[in-house]
Homo-oligomer: 301 residues x 2
């Protein structure tokens, strides 16, 4: 079943200890949509400028992604540049040029509105809410946020969260959102804010899924080498939501959510193997399923 994804489509300048690249196709919606495209039909809602490259448009199209909702407007595409620390655990933003993204007012094409799955990538909470309200009763709504919105738009965030089923955040964001340093306590507070499921991502250490009556821990995949962690969290979200949409899972099915967390981890791990979306863009479903089975093998006891 189809999945609507809203977020940014951007160009990134990335520096890691392994190299440097400029104007790489990036943005949260790009990573989420590409990762999800291996599991289900994806419809993107985003905005790009006149400089957006035809090859990048085709790359998304070649993954069967519906681009009716990808507006092309006068001006330049959102540009972000960042540099990673030697151990890749910290990154410094060098440039953020919102460009056409500053005026982004997401409008959903008519055909998008009855899609059963919706993922709200990391944009202003008020925009996330506006997208959600254009949908006709989606079966499952997931979303992401970041420290910037927790700090500067907490009221809007709290309001939109009430309409979400699943929140994906990283551990520091979960702590910031709740004021609780203990992960279990933070998760319980988030579950009182609206979502019935919260997934707390812990970078290389994996992710934890919490619901009121249980939790599930997935360790991270041990990569031989990490070239570029940009987009790993969004790729996780894409694998997670894409898997659920692909099997038409009812949102309350705990077993499907667990498998979705593993598929999220699989996609996040692949993402780090090369710069930008390069690895993500040339995966096969067989490679994805092989890594899923590796997760089974190294966690089973």
């Amino acid at each position: 079943m189809s999945l609507v994804v809203v977020g940014s489509v951007a160009y990134d300048g990335i520096e890691t200890p392994y190299g440097k690249a400029d104007r790489l196709l990036g943005g949260s919606a790009t990573y989420i949509a590409l990762a999800a495209s291996y599991f289900t039909a994806v419809k993107i809602v985003a905005v790009v400028g006149e400089d957006f490259d035809g090859d990048d448009w085709r790359l998304l199209q070649d993954h069967g992604i519906d681009l009716q909702g990808l507006e092309r407007v006068p001006g330049r595409t959102f540009y972000w540049a960042g540099s990673y620390s030697p151990d890749l655990n910290d990154r410094t933003t060098l440039t953020t040029e919102l460009n056409v993204f500053a005026g982004f007012d997401p409008r959903l094409p008519e055909e998008y509105r009855s899609a059963p799955y919706l993922f709200l990538g990391n944009i202003q909470p008020s925009l996330q809410d506006r997208v959600r309200r254009q949908m006709n009763h989606p079966r499952l709504v997931g979303g992401d946020t970041m420290n910037l919105w927790i700090r500067e738009a907490m009221r809007d965030l709290a309001e939109t969260l009430q309409g979400w089923d699943v929140l994906l955040v990283n551990d520091s964001e979960a702590r910031m959102l709740t004021g609780e340093s203990n992960l279990r306590a933070a998760a319980q507070k988030i579950l009182n804010m609206g979502p019935h499921t919260v997934i707390i991502k812990r970078g290389e250490y994996g992710a934890v899924l919490f619901q009121r009556d249980g939790y599930f821990i997935s360790p991270g995949f041990l990569l031989e080498s990490v070239y570029d962690p940009t987009g790993a969290g969004d790729s996780f979200a894409g694998g997670f939501m894409g898997y659920l949409a692909g099997c038409g899972a009812h949102p309350a099915t705990h077993a499907a959510l667990r498998r979705a967390v593993i598929y999220g981890s699989v996609m996040g791990s692949f993402c780090c193997e090369e710069f930008g979306v390069r690895r993500l863009a040339r995966l096969t479903r067989a490679e994805i399923d092989a890594r899923y089975r590796e997760f089974q093998a190294f966690t089973h006891f």
Copy 2:
């Protein structure tokens, strides 16, 4: 089958954000032996001074621990004091008084020498080697080390490691020992140093077991609250070795090693719930098995 444990028996002064306590029974051999005592018969090799408390002696005895090898000599017991950071992730050593431990020359009682399992707690590598050489062909030899010996006694450490089956270290020690920042690469180098199995502990994030032909990742247990992490790594070692000794596992049985890693994680998690050995000392096997089943429940997919 019985397990011989060598290490320190000490008094600890501990300050955490949750409180402060002085002269708590501690030391690596104490934590390892207590944790292992829930699974198998344990024989301790260590030294204490004249100040060693009768109640502490009885506490060890009450757990069925053989104290023939616990020498009592003139002088004071090894004393260590430390203070933890607010998030418990860092600790500062305030005092180290070696006292009787400075002249420790471990001699194994005759009855210890044919025990099939041996664990070498964190003491000078040359002393670990001396203990190992007093044993008659143990079935499985495990051991621990620390940054101090990697820095100051690397030659001795490399020599003694050649006779070990299993090395337990934390992630920063594994990196320091091998000069490899990637965990997989570090593990492969360690497997070339002698042990057929290396377990890399990652604090709250769990542990990874590596062998030449495979690996196993255990996430950490999500505690509601952590009062005092002192001894958690040693409790892990005790649960790990105790379980293997208790079921008489052949060292090459990968499935038993995986279960042992989970029992190690279980014991490490209990250890953090109260100051010093308090929680560890009043556990029941039923509580331990219940937490083992919780690990099964939250990792299964």
